[in-house]
Symmetry: C2
Subunit: 244 residues, 2 copies
């Protein structure tokens, strides 16, 4: 399983993914699910993937090597806009489906992939998309400033309650770390280390890229501090007065 | 969808269910999913159901009307133990499956039902079981003092972090209310009102049975207080010092 979350904030993007993959729970590995496509001062894109690892890697490879769209070989390094980038990721998903889909169907394997794509090209808007297994996609907006893929439920309540479009990216890091920690705790197939990327709007480069391991001091603050804070919050709520 | 949670605590049982059912999201109704089987001073059992409403109601009706086990008509009012009660619920599930299963399969409808059964018979132990769609079951223990059915994920992190076997039942009420509130907030197919039952070990009757609506003062305390407490907890955690 996988958990990836992307925040689309007034001042930037925050993206976080775990690194655990499993083929059955007795076969667990570490694979980065975060991929950066960067041309300094020109474009900065981040892709995070969830679902079948073979499909995810095929899509990512295709985005690296280029997709022949008739006129030219198009990659995330050449697309003229974030919208076109989302279309290209969708096209890569559809091409992998055309290759792998029939065999998957014959073997009753689900064609399961979902992708978050965030970034900005110089002079254009910063955007965050979620691309589905059918190759179609949706976009985050100020009304719903986060998107999640993979094991999304354990980490959603804190985002539903606290996150807003004008949340500062540094606070966004706190929130995605709490969201991830809740997920790690409740689903063993989501695992450390985790990959974090913070992008400040119009920067055209990552402000922070960080692999966070169990011994990371800030992860420890979140992991221990949030549990304690929750217990404290729960103690602060009064008992019902209709129970002795 | 449905969310039901049962706590198996040193001093008693706490059981909570929502009341929303839906056949498609454009067809929403209120049905109680909590059923009490009580003979004062002799036995007290509570059943909560999730899954296909037709299957759930068929099982509950069968438990009321009795299952012919060859020698006699057995109901939850006549079983000699909680273990036998769990077996009887499992048998009811299997009988409904034998009747409905083939048509469900032909129409590609999932035979989907899960049940929580908690209670006590005089002179015997208090127990809490979860019965699956196959009719088999598991039991809560001091190591894992809660069981959930239906939409379980949104409300699980708070239980994972805070609940213990020796949690007081009044605090258990707080916890299941918070767990339910997180679920209500993140999944619209789980809905108010909610049904609460608190049983004190060896009491042989419910200490509290309460239908909780949106205007319930304690629900309001949980609903508003927990959101505020979470925001406060999140503010109290420091930002990472490696982000400006």
């Amino acid at each position: 399983m996988t958990y990836c979350v992307g925040l689309y904030l007034k001042d930037g993007l925050v993206m976080l993914s775990d690194t655990r993959t499993n083929a059955g729970i007795d076969n667990i590995s570490v694979f980065s699910k975060m991929h950066i496509y960067e041309i300094p001062d020109e474009r900065f894109l981040t892709v995070m993937t969830a679902g079948n690892l073979g499909v995810s890697q095929a899509v990512v490879n295709m985005l690296h090597e280029g997709i022949d769209t008739g006129e030219r070989l198009e990659t995330l390094y050449t697309v003229p806009s974030m919208f076109r980038a989302a279309q290209l990721v969708g096209e890569a998903v559809r091409r992998v489906y055309r290759t792998d889909g029939p065999t998957f169907e014959a073997q009753q394997i689900k064609f399961d992939v979902s992708i978050l794509l965030g970034g900005q090209l110089r002079g254009r808007g910063m955007r965050l998309f979620q691309i589905y297994a059918a190759g179609n996609f949706i976009e985050a907006t100020p009304d719903t400033p986060f998107l999640q893929i993979g094991e999304t439920k354990y980490g959603k309540p804190i985002l539903d309650r606290v996150l807003q479009y004008d949340t500062d990216p540094a606070d966004g890091v706190k929130l995605v770390m709490v969201s991830m920690d809740s997920t790690l705790r409740s689903n063993l197939t989501v695992g450390l280390p985790i990959d974090l990327m913070v992008y400040r709007r119009d920067a055209m480069k990552a402000e922070t890229r960080r692999r966070i391991t169990e011994s990371d001091p800030y992860y420890q603050i979140i992991h221990n501090g949030w549990s304690e804070a929750l217990r404290e919050a729960y103690r602060a709520i009064p008992r019902p007065n209709w129970i002795r």
